[in-house]
Assembly symmetry: C2
Homo-oligomer: 793 residues x 2
């Protein structure tokens, strides 16, 4: 068992109902293709933790309130909308609604299969009056037909213990339900109001077994069509009826079923939305999607789904021998990352994917820094699409930079449509590193794919415009070089600091990558009016970039002056005071040496080329002792750097924490959706941590090492059109070319050309003293597989 789920390498199963855990299972069982997302609610709609049906990019707008406003504060917020719910299929057994809170559930399992991409539910239920039915449903959101989801719904009349009558009357109601009642999660009455009943009905249609509802949001003016069509297996005396009103469309199917008889229907869902297209056009688009889905049919959709996933796993699978719980968690994570990114296409990948309304459905830097590296090396076209979305929002980012008095592009800290929505500027606007993170993802994608078309059409422009931001944000100071003052780094327990080392190093890389891109694409550079002077300025700024270092302590400073700040009193901080931000004011967090999440340590990973190994070990130890991991963005990175410094058991502990964050609900908020970046962090902990994979300067290198508890780890990845597998045991590593051209890489510093298969010995790890986390905040050590999984962190 892991967090209440059965252990299995390729699936996740939950047995029993557990009403109080529904919010968790709904998130973990969410299905999505990056365009449409359905939370894993029960078919019958209730009981429910938090209902949710999402369309990527579909949001409502609301005014952001400020008691004391300031120049340049964003005026409008965006919140993902729970759209028309098409998942609902209600069942009445002899007039008794199937509600798992009543009667008896004799059996009840839900299973998510990572290879078929199908969520299956099997329930044997006895109604309060003793009637028994077996309900089996399968649900998928198609990876191949992005507007389509489908549900196979089967209900069988089952003989009760006492026998019973020969026939059971079953009524199935298959709904499209808009403006589903939902408990408000916000304290702001205006936001709550905006989201209470966000959709205004525009038209409703039904005929045959099909219905379509068209709605529009009230403020953001986005239009949505949701459609359903059905196949119902014929039965004697079966009656069907379809109806549609503003917020509800329904197919009702009624039949009298003998014991052993099965009522079976397939529900096809089609979704479409647009900010510009008309209601009739959207309706037509949805009806076309439904027609396509019907044409493919249920079995066809299943087959396409399987084939899509087979290909994904062939490129991306991670195998872990010696820790079944971790094996399952890592595959679940990859599956959800795929779901978040596969078909996002021209839209963002939100921090929660489409698994819940957390963070208002916004996308953050997490996507570029944590999620895109996974996609870049496993499904590069999804990484490309995500970066194309950023490129599409460039005019908004340029506008934002101009409002801030800067050149180039300032990408938003949080957004759905590309406009800044952060209402707290010290941790929003000032966190400029998001622009360097995007540049970093662009450079990584380019090096890993050599996609010259993207480079010309989008990549170079993204690099140039972000480089321009850095040049205009910073200044040369006679005291100590090129400075970036008054900005906020990744650590959310610091803000508005001078020379955050992570930001400065990422900006340095950004500037240099922009120069390289301009050299690769002189015509693009010319179009963007990049002058020789500008290139020289970028180069000089990068070369003179200030990197704060505390000579007395011999460690780098997270930002100027950080190491002179007061230490946090960890001994005096009780366990229930975490996360600290809920119990201490920002002012107190900001002024002390307490770190929410990897910041300088993230620089040790992503800009590892700027540090010696000895310095990394010193810096890691210093910051490890001050990092409380109140963010899910931390453990994966700490794992990576711990592994590099030879702290393999620690790396393993952090890897498990990252991988199990959502399964074990370590942050007590999985109800609002999964932490995509944490799931991605687990992949990083395996590939960059245990595998020692780095891509500094576009070169792929490995330095694999396993903790003693693991017998074998193997992962696959794509690089420049080739696919390779790296297989690691305690003693040696095997590099295997699966397809494509030979891959030039290195193993622990020695060049290797992978063509076929090559096995190399693993050197002993460096021997630095093991660092300590703050008292009470140590990761749970994982000495034997599964030890920690089912316990509280």
């Amino acid at each position: 068992m892991s967090g209440g789920f059965d252990l299995a390498p390729w699936e996740l199963r939950w047995s029993g109902l557990a009403v109080d855990q529904l919010h968790r299972t709904e998130s973990v069982f969410a299905l999505s293709n990056g365009h449409v997302g359905l939370r894993g609610s029960l078919d019958e709609g209730e009981p429910v933790g938090l209902p949710g049906t999402y369309l990527n990019g579909f949001y409502e707008e609301h005014a952001l309130p400020y008691a004391e406003a300031g120049y340049g504060y964003p005026e409008a917020g965006q919140t993902v909308v729970n759209v028309t719910d098409g998942k609902i299929i209600r069942l009445l057994v002899e007039d008794e609604p199937l509600d798992m809170r009543y009667g008896r559930a004799l059996e009840h399992h839900r299973t998510l299969d990572f290879r078929t991409g199908v969520l299956t539910r099997e329930t044997l239920w006895e109604s309060p009056t003793g009637r028994r039915v077996r309900v089996r449903t399968q649900r998928l959101v198609s990876f191949t037909q992005r507007a389509v989801a489908a549900i196979r719904y089967e209900v069988e009349a089952v003989a009760g213990d006492a026998g019973g009558p020969e026939e059971t009357q079953l009524v199935v109601q298959s709904d499209l339900l808009a403006n589903e009642p939902i408990e408000s999660r916000t304290r702001d009455p205006r936001v709550a109001l905006a989201l209470k009943s966000p959709l205004a009905g525009e038209s409703s249609h039904c005929s045959g077994l099909r219905a379509v509802l068209v709605h529009q949001t009230k403020e953001s003016g986005l239009r949505l069509a949701a459609g359903m069509d059905h196949e119902v297996e014929d039965l004697p005396g079966l009656r069907t009826e379809v109806s549609a009103e503003d917020d509800l469309a329904r197919l009702t199917v009624a039949a009298d079923i003998p014991v052993g008889g099965v009522l079976r229907l397939t529900k096809y869902l089609g979704y479409g939305w647009s900010s510009t297209r008309s209601g009739p056009a959207l309706r037509a688009q949805v009806e076309a999607a439904l027609a396509g889905a019907l044409q493919t049919g249920w079995d066809g959709l299943l087959a396409e789904q399987r084939a899509f996933l087979d290909d994904f796993w062939a490129a991306a699978d991670v195998e872990i021998d010696g820790d079944d719980e971790l094996q399952q968690a890592v595959r679940l994570g990859l599956f959800h990352i795929l779901q978040a990114g596969a078909r996002g296409e021209s839209r963002a990948i939100p921090g929660k994917g489409l698994t819940g309304p957390g963070y208002d459905g916004h996308a953050f830097w997490d996507t570029e820094t944590f999620v895109l590296p996974v996609l870049t090396y496993t499904m590069p076209e999804a990484a490309r699409d995500a970066l194309r979305w950023r490129h599409a929002t460039l005019p908004l980012a340029q506008e934002r930079a101009a409002v801030l008095g800067k050149r180039g592009a300032a990408f938003p800290w949080r957004s759905i449509n590309g406009k800044e929505c952060s209402a707290y500027w010290p941790a929003g606007t000032a966190a400029f590193h998001v622009s360097a993170d995007i540049a970093d993802a662009v450079a990584r994608y380019h090096a890993a794919t050599l996609d010259t078309e993207f480079d010309r059409e989008a990549g170079t422009e993204l690099l140039v415009e972000t480089a321009r931001l850095w040049r205009s944000l910073g200044h040369h100071d006679p005291h100590d070089g090129f400075r970036l003052d008054g900005i906020t780094g990744p650590d959310e327990y610091s803000a508005v600091v001078d020379n955050n080392i992570y930001t400065n190093l990422m900006a340095q890389k950004n500037l240099r990558e922009a120069i390289a891109a301009c050299e690769r694409n002189p015509r693009v550079a010319n179009r963007l009016e990049v002058s020789t002077t500008e290139i020289e300025e970028w180069s000089r700024a990068a070369d003179r970039m200030r990197i704060p270092f505390d000579e007395m302590l011999g460690v780098h400073e997270q930002a100027e002056g950080f190491t002179a700040h007061e230490e946090w009193n960890f001994e005096g901080t009780e366990a229930e005071k975490y996360p600290l931000l809920l119990h201490y004011p920002y002012f107190e967090l900001y002024r002390r040496q307490v770190v929410k999440q990897a910041d300088l340590v993230l620089a040790l990973h992503l800009r590892g080329d700027a540090f010696t190994l000895e310095q990394k070990a010193r810096d890691f130890a210093y910051y490890e002792a001050r990092t409380v991991r109140d963010s899910s963005l931390s453990a994966g990175t700490q794992s990576v750097v711990a592994a590099e410094c030879g702290h393999l058991d620690l790396a393993y502990a952090y890897l498990a924490e990252a991988a199990l964050t959502d399964l074990n609900d370590l942050h007590h908020n999985v109800a609002n959706g999964l932490h995509m970046a944490s799931l991605a962090g687990a992949w990083q902990a395996i590939v960059a941590g245990l595998g020692g994979m780095r891509d500094h300067g576009g070169e792929l290198t490995f330095a694999p090492r396993l903790p003693s508890a693991l017998e074998r780890v193997a992962f696959r990845m794509c690089f420049q059109g080739s696919r390779l597998q790296v297989e690691i045991t305690g003693e040696e590593a095997t590099y295997r070319l699966i397809s494509g051209d030979p891959v030039h890489t290195s193993h622990h510093g020695s060049p290797v050309v992978v063509d076929g298969e090559v096995t190399l010995p693993i050197p002993a790890p460096p021997d630095f003293p093991t660092p300590s986390a703050p008292p009470g905040r140590e990761p749970r050590r994982r000495t034997k597989a599964g030890d920690s999984g089912t316990q509280e962190p």
Copy 2:
């Protein structure tokens, strides 16, 4: 003329109506005794700029909205309420309402007399139908009877050009009007709603010529009674009628007046409010106040007012020969400071006094740092009362400190009742210096009065509790001593910085003053559980206090790292971009070397004992070049330090700017009330600037010097029960004991005992190069008296 007002040494007169200037004249002509405040609106209520009747401490509460809230953010805001308006006396001339926008105003003057404390209005008006009346009104808010205001209203029927009928029918309506319609000044709909109609009627009463209205606020639950009573001079055929409903009480007086006849009435107003007392109790209190006022009578009130003011001017007058405009402005300023503080008693002195709704009626650090020094040396009992208010709010400040995880008392950045109301913590909560400013005011008051009772009852506790705050806010760091990190100093274009030099130096003084107070009052210290260890800790923290200094530039840093920040591009900043905060985001202001208001320069004044003169001159020049004076809190301080450094013409320019801030509406917001701190800054510029008065360590010293444009400056002040006058000319200074014991002081460093009169020569000023303000932000040079007054800054 100065800003449209006639020049005169002891009064301020505005001639003509100028509807578009009403908002200004209402603020400048506001009458107050610190308890009741009446804006200088026309008697007939309309036309009006911004109506306003205020009771010190009477506010409505509203939720503070946060799009992204944080731990410890204040939840409720407070806003001063425009209470029941008793100023209104309407006149109908043959059914034609006197409205200055219609008909013709043949004469119209309004005059505020600084010696009588009376606002007089004289109007000769011809109605649209050609009837003429002369209206003469006098208004006062009593300094001696704090709940009382009074209006003498006289209207005379005057023959028109064309003669006219023998009698004119006059109807006078004297009102109490609650929930006066008022234009909303807020963008927050919830605040606007709270203030739209803030008062709920509780009861209304009338009999004879008297009426009382009792109201309660809806959220804050404060209760208010407003009453009026009248004396009407009998006339043949005079009819009177009184009525009262929820929001309106009215005395109607009607008479037919022959040409030359006068209808004369006196209106007495009584106000009372309470958070605990009942409606009947408040009504009784107000009726008692009215009875007292009637007993004193109009002439008696006038006489009391005059006597009170005679005494004030005897202790506080400032004479300026050579600049009539400045003479008038400085007396006006002193009059308004007196009005703000005279009878505040157990309440705060708001930033705008009771002259307008600006800053929501909140009190800030301005009071202690700018206003209280004036009161301490001119009307020490008012300074004492203001500090007693702070002492009364100590439990709230202790509570706030506890919420912030600190010991001692953290006084609010802005408040009416003592609870923190600042919704933007970087410029609110983090501006901890307010607590040191209060301590500074306590220490100053003590040294200037030797008021041992206050010292025992309130002063020592205030010093101890603020010292405790500093000790728990700071920490000893091996790098560089005792640090105060992540706080905000006075300059609002910086925030959340390390070791703001002003804050550190003021905290240092606070710690030392607390030690001294404990030594003076061992029993109080004992009661407050001050241990020897604690005293040692305070002493060590003060001794090791970090004072950041830039060795390369040879200047102090406003805060750690300030001098490495990017310079502001003043040449590229157009005049209309000021104040910068309305045109640039905070993030940009915070990260650059641009200073809104004296910060380090304020430390050069208040902690001048911590700098050599040479260092002051260097520091002043450096910060002068970077200070834009977007705050009205700056010019006075710049004047003081400029004078000390020998830049006498510059000091004179800043003195004039401070003094004329409101008369000339330099900040374009005098509509919302006067800038008390700026008016006080002008006094400081004279006394501490030209007079060179300092009180470091409780010792009173002088170092007077005049700019060449001024012939003579004389000011009076109180010190330890004595009154003295300092008279300065270009060559010499005369110290004169007016009353009390001899005063021990010094003149330019040489000890002097002032007993009788002593005249001493003035040495030549030091010869440092004259510093420059940022291009475009230079103060208007004042070479000849009155040169700048009537022009734009």
